[in-house]
Symmetry: C2
Subunit: 345 residues, 2 copies
């Protein structure tokens, strides 16, 4: 899977250069109602999908296919996905399946998108209440990663993305984790520093994806925090109180590091420090024991699960991960108890 | 793209052996209402989609996704597509996108499916009146090719598939073409001979696909007869009088070999012989000059077309093909006139 990453705050010149690299008959931008104005000098038709995770549906994909058709898009056209994870996931799927596949470039506009969805070739949409239930492995030809869109991001969005930066650090090294746990969300963004932190995080992901593009094995490492995180997210959505993806992942990291402490002796000092940072910046989950059955049911339907088992990536230490750890429902209940304790719930 | 082909009339033992080659938690068969009973000893749940090209829709794909979900299918499950081109195209797409991709095996039950749709990794469905408008390049892990289902095929189905066998011969050699033009559809099937003809045809396709899996160049050779054929098919469908795919391809071969005569001096003796065989076995198109505008419009929206151009693969001689030939509307009108003349219309 070839996917070229460009870390830059000169977005338009980079896009112009990338567009020129390959002949194409037209350019179409897929964005959402929030991001469609972010690159005013982009001179092409824009398909604006309704913003938000609950629009990441088959109906929206169908709308995008219809618009691509109306705009006369062919296999020789170029699609630019400009937006957060919903846009790059769904726009990527639409582009990858329209006439069996167009070239597309991702321009993530959120920290979460930049560190997670836009890189690595996963595309898809939600179906039957399950996140990314339908999708394809289809790499963007290029990803233009920039922090220039982040100044206007709500603090909550920034925190949501930072949880994924943290996840990548946990998969990489103790030092990388410590450097992030000092982060102060009340200070203005230091673009140079953040672009470097982002680069470090994305490189962790790239390395893992390059070794396992279709998630047959090692790529499951990137699922750290997500078995519990996705379940929390699905539960919140089913209660019509959606939580930001990164918040769910942050809480999932606490639960799964607690599990890792029980299973693999992940150091409790690291667990406490991580949980402290997450409690301070991400607050509480609002989950009660009455939710455990629904959470465990969702975990069993996770794409990574085989045959109803609960499957996690667990850390023996920062940077030392073990994929494919099967967890019993009882262990998971204990981990959820520990998570709530550590978050002060 | 790795896709293992098995030419055999021992279908069930082959399937059992293939299933055993890779661990899986469950097997699900996707078939249609005609083919779901063809392998009675297949011991697994069957998702039966309504038979016929006009059910090759997003609604049917959605139904298959829902059933896969209900059946508890995971990434470690195995899908067997048992049917003609609609089943292998649509079932392949559903399997390739469910949880971002399951392993699937194609078991084509028609000659057309065996020589065309089931092999080569193209999956998809029709959308907005355009054939295979949405899809993915996703190879079956294995394709089990057998003639044992063909005894009960209507003669029309057999002829439809034979047109694709003929197309592959045209891409291969004069000798291969001549050996087919003696075919007698009124005789009972000679299974051994047909399996060998099928193997020769599929090997032509495999060779081309191996050199160009994503249709960037040479694979367009396989489009021979299909620029005109697809347009005839779409027109017939829009008039609620669908024609078998292979009939449309057979007529398309005549039109495109007539074009090749004008453009590349394809020998007229070969053109007349081909047209004679097709007139005798496939009859007339029923097209009039009043249909030309609609046909040309459909050709311009073909997936292989760039920016409204009409794009064909043309032969300078049997086995000597040129992809990416841009044809003017006037040339196409002349070719359609010639096609109708040669077919005695």
């Amino acid at each position: 899977m070839v996917q070229n990453l460009h870390f830059t705050n000169e977005v338009m010149p980079t896009l112009r250069r990338l567009a020129e690299q390959q002949p194409h008959n037209r350019v179409v931008c897929i964005a959402d109602t929030n991001t469609c104005h972010l690159l005013p000098s982009l001179d092409c038709p824009v398909i604006a999908i309704p913003a938000g995770e609950d629009n990441k549906t088959l109906a929206t994909v169908g709308m995008v296919w219809d618009r691509l058709h109306e705009l006369g898009v062919t296999r020789n056209s170029l699609v630019i996905n400009l937006g957060g994870g919903v846009v790059t996931d769904l726009g990527g799927f639409a582009a990858a399946t329209f006439k069996r596949g167009l070239r597309f470039i991702n321009v993530p506009t959120t920290l979460l998108g930049a560190v997670d969805a836009a890189v690595g070739g996963k595309t898809g949409f939600n179906h039957q209440g399950l996140k990314n239930q339908i999708g394809a492995f289809a790499p963007a030809s290029d990803v233009v990663i920039s922090t220039c869109f982040f100044d206007t991001l709500p603090k909550q969005e920034l925190k949501s993305g930072f949880a994924e930066v943290l996840k990548h650090a946990l998969l990489s090294s103790h030092e990388q984790v410590l450097s992030l746990l000092n982060h102060d969300f009340s200070a203005p963004i230091n673009h140079e520093a953040l672009l470097q932190q982002l680069r470090a995080a994305v490189e962790v992901k790239q390395d893992i994806v390059a070794r396992d593009p279709n998630e047959r094995g090692e790529r499951k490492a990137l699922n750290l925090g997500h078995t519990v995180g996705h379940a929390i997210e699905a539960l919140a959505l089913s209660h019509a109180h959606p939580v930001p993806h990164g918040y769910a992942v942050a809480w999932g990291l606490v639960a799964e590091c607690a599990l890792a402490g029980m299973r693999l002796h992940f150091p409790s000092s690291d667990l406490y420090r991580l949980a402290g940072f997450i409690r301070e910046n991400y607050g509480v989950t609002g989950i009660t024991c009455n939710d455990y059955d629904a959470l465990i049911d969702a975990m069993r339907h996770d794409k990574k699960s085989a045959d109803g088992e609960i499957n996690c990536t667990l850390l023996a230490a920062c940077g030392d991960y073990r994929v494919g750890q099967v967890v019993t429902p009882d262990e998971m209940r204990t981990a959820l108890d520990l998570m709530r304790d550590l978050l002060g719930e």
